[in-house]
Each structure stands twice: as structure tokens, then as C-alpha cells.
């Protein structure tokens, strides 16, 4: 405003005249006011801007989990064959987070499984957009376990189960993504769920359900976890429903090490209590 400016100039001129050493408190106050205003504006916009960079997937930020420290990823987009209830899959990670799976998916609509469940059923819900939280039952008990249960029970597209022999206390899985953690209070749990649960850009079967046909899968009595290694007859990761003539023929391709240069999973599932070699 010209009038304000000029009156200030007049005041400044007067003060220069009045005192040999000017006391520019007016200028200090003005700069301070502008600075406070600028900090306020900047702070407000930064918070709003930062929100956009947080963990909600968008067309511009398809996989916000890339910002989360410790997330391991694999591309399983072409390794999605269906196996039968009697087959095993030679998974390359434990717990597995992608690859061929049982045609019947485990219920993932906020189900807390008290007992370990068969891998092949638990991988299928990941393809449907669910996040699977696992814990080592020897190390996560009491309040920490209750915190995990509270987080999952009744929530859409989440499931929780114990995983014997897990090499960290807690591990989170979504399709092609895994994060291993030691603390049930770690804030990365929420970040992982927010980034990947029903993330239409990262899970293959957009729109698929977490509910199950009662005749196909009973959440109260799911197929049990098998600790023993899957053995040489296991279905390899690159098995597709087209290769071979299917599970009924028994002509399953021989087990092969995981493609993609990953270290071969020594015998598959590590023995309970024995942490697998490497990460």
C-alpha cells in the first residue's frame, strides 16, 4: 500500500533525524510479521502437500510402500497357477507372499486364525488384495499379540495367523510385498496396510472377494500349516495352470529353484525355530 509505505518512510526519516543510531524496531516487527505469516502458509501447505505423499495409492503414486524402509518385493504377476488341496508349492519366501496357490482362498475378511494355516490357502487372498499379518507364536504373546488381534479382527481384507519358525517376531505380506518387523507397535504396520491393502495397482484380481463359500473353506477349521519341507514333488513357482495337464494327472513338472536368480530355498520351509539363511 503506497500510503502505508510512505508514512513508514516518513517515520523512518524522522527517526534517522531524531537519533544518530537508528532503532529499526518497526522494520524488525514488520519482517517478523511477514516471516511468521510465511512460516504459517508454508507449514499449512507443506502438511497438505505431504499428505499427498503419504501412503494412499494414487494414479501418480501407485506403490507408496516404496517409501517404507525394509519392504521386500518380488514380481509374481505371471506365477499364479492354481494347485489342488493335496499339492505343495516350493515358495521362495517364508511366509510366502506370491506364487501359485490353492484354488480355494482362505477367508480374509478380518479373520484372526489362532492356529497356523496352510501356506497355499493363505497366498490366494493376497491375490485378492488382502494383507496377511503373521507372527512367531514363540515371541509374540500377551499384549503384543492382543494389539495385532485388535488391529485385524473385523477389518476388511486383513487376516492374522501364527507362523511357526518365523525368523522375525512379525511379518506382513501383501501380493509381491513383504515387511519383517520386531515390534507390534511399529508405525510401519499401518503404513504397509495403507499402502497395499486393496491397492488396485499392486494386486492382480481387482474386485475379488475375501468372503468364502462355506462349503469350500471353513475359517473355524482351516487346512493346517505344514512345517515339513515341500519336497521334490512340489509345484515350482513358475507353474501355470496350462503347463502339464494339471494336478489330476500327477504329471507335475519337477521342482526347480526359484527363477530370477534368487537363492534356492534350502528345502523350502525352514524347520521351526531354525531361521532361514540370508535376509
Amino acid at each position: 500500500m503506497p500510503s502505508g509505505k510512505s508514512s513508514k518512510a516518513v517515520r523512518n526519516a524522522r527517526s534517522v533525524v531524531a537519533a544518530t543510531k537508528p532503532k529499526p524496531w518497526g522494520t524488525v516487527a514488520a519482517v517478523l510479521a511477514v516471516l511468521v505469516f510465511a512460516v504459517g502458509i508454508f507449514g499449512y501447505l507443506y502438511l497438505r502437500y505431504d499428505e499427498r505423499r503419504t501412503f494412499t495409492p494414487t494414479a501418480e503414486n501407485k506403490d507408496p510402500s516404496a517409501q517404507i524402509e525394509g519392504v521386500v518385493t518380488e514380481d509374481y504377476s505371471h506365477r499364479r497357477g492354481h494347485v489342488s488341496a493335496t499339492q505343495r508349492v516350493a515358495y521362495d519366501h517364508f511366509p510366502p507372499f506370491g506364487g501359485p496357490h490353492d484354488a480355494t482362498w482362505a477367508a480374509c475378511n478380518g479373520v484372526v486364525y489362532d492356529k497356523p494355516v496352510r501356506n497355499e490357502n493363505m497366498v490366494h487372498p493376497l491375490e485378492h488384495g488382502a494383507v496377511w499379518i503373521t507372527y512367531n507364536p514363540d515371541h509374540v504373546t500377551g499384549d503384543a499379540l492382543q494389539a495385532l488381534k485388535d488391529r485385524v479382527e473385523g477389518q476388511g481384507y486383513l487376516m492374522l495367523s501364527p507362523y511357526p519358525g518365523l525368523d522375525t517376531p512379525i511379518s506382513l505380506q501383501s501380493w509381491g510385498h513383504q515387511l519383517k518387523l520386531s515390534d507390534a507397535k511399529d508405525k510401519r504396520i499401518d503404513q504397509f496396510i495403507q499402502s497395499l491393502r486393496l491397492n488396485e495397482y499392486t494386486y492382480p484380481e481387482v474386485g475379488a472377494s475375501c468372503d468364502v463359500l462355506p462349503s469350500a473353506f471353513d475359517p473355524a477349521n482351516p487346512p493346517p500349516f505344514v512345517a515339513a519341507p515341500p519336497g521334490p514333488g512340489a509345484v515350482p513357482l513358475d507353474y501355470s495352470s496350462q503347463s502339464g495337464s494339471g494336478p489330476m494327472s500327477g504329471a507335475v513338472p519337477p521342482a526347480a529353484p526359484a527363477p530370477g536368480g534368487a537363492p534356492p530355498p534350502a528345502g523350502g520351509q525352514p524347520a521351526p525355530g531354525a531361521p532361514p539363511a540370508g535376509q
Binding site: 519482517v31 497438505r48 496350462q242
Partner: protein, 229 residues
Amino acid sequence: MSPAPRWLHPLVAGGAVLAILLLGASLGMLVQLPGRGPAQPGAASVDVGFSQDMSVHHRQAVLMAGLARERSSDPVIRSLAFDIERTQLEQVGRMQGWLSLWNAAPLPTGRYMTWMTDAAPMPGMAHGSDPGASDPGAAGVTTMPGMASQADLDRLGAASGKAFDVLFLQLMLRHHQGGLPMASYAATHAETAQVRNLAQKIVVSQTSEGEYLTQLLAQRGARPLPPPT
């Protein structure tokens, strides 16, 4: 009153510079903040045409899958049918929601696939399709590829036991294959990122589910129907 200390001037100058920098940065963020979504797709757009036509196509899969979920005595078929029914109905919900937000009609009037204007070579089309047969051009078609006829549906409704399972698998496989050209066209031509993404997911998951359907047919000693035209 003591005179202004020596350090005051640089401090004030620094404060002023900082304020200017902060305001500049704020302006920069402000420019980026408003949602820069694309303009609403128009009535003739790929986005609208795909959402309308695929809604129709999906609903027939939902119909057949619902029948199989109720009727089949094979748990494998029932579970598969339930999966297809739920997934495709959910996807219909997405497409209908978009159409509502775009103020577009929920269903197409007249011919299908008129939005596939440069569909001469159709990448991702099931092999064995003979050129011209399913090439809609901008003129559109009266029946989309892979759709079961009323006679097909009547036969399915009358079938039972293993014959029902086989016919269901055959019709569903052909239905999946028939939807691929539309989905792969939309996956590359739609203007909205979410539409392109859904179309691409349909291509990939219906292709892999098609392999599974083929496997289930083989296990039952049956063959697929001729690919859709």
C-alpha cells in the same frame, strides 16, 4: 534505550530473505496441489464405452457364475463360480460408479464396441481369431464376442451333473476370451488412469483364469468351444 546491536541488520535481512523463500516454496506447492484430474470423459470416449459395454459383458458372466455356484455339485466349480461372480460384480460396481460420476448413461444404447475406433489390429486378441470377423470398427456390433446366446443359456439351465459343469466351463472360457479385445483396447486407449488399470487387470486375470478353465476342462475330458468371433 541502547542502540540497535550490530547483528540486527543481517538478522532482519536474513529473516526477510527466508520469508521470501518460504512464500516462493508455498507458491510452488500451491501450483501442484489442486487435483489435476483429466476432464470428465465424454459420451463417445473409450472410458464411457468400455465401462458401459463391459458392464453388460460382465453381467452375463455374473449370471452364469451364479447359476453354477447354485447348481454344480463339484466344490471346485462352485468355488470358481463364486470367485467369478463376486469379482465381476464388484468390477461392474466400479464401472457403474464411474459412469454416474461422469453423468454418462449406465448402459449403451444401440450397438456395442463403437468406441473401438482404431481397432483394426487387436493386440492381445486370442489367437485363431480370423480378421474381420470380430472387427467392429466404429460401426459397432450387435453382440459382443464371447457372449452366450439365449440358446446357450437355455442349454446351461437345462443341464445337470458333469454335463452342466463342462458346459459352464466352456461358456465361461469363451466369455473370458471374448472380453479380452475390449479390455486390451481400453487398457491402452482410455484417458483415465483408473480405467486403463482396471482394463489391464481384466486382461491379465482373465487370461490366467482362462488357463485354469482350460485345465479344468481337460481334467473332465472336455475341450474348449471354438474361440469367439
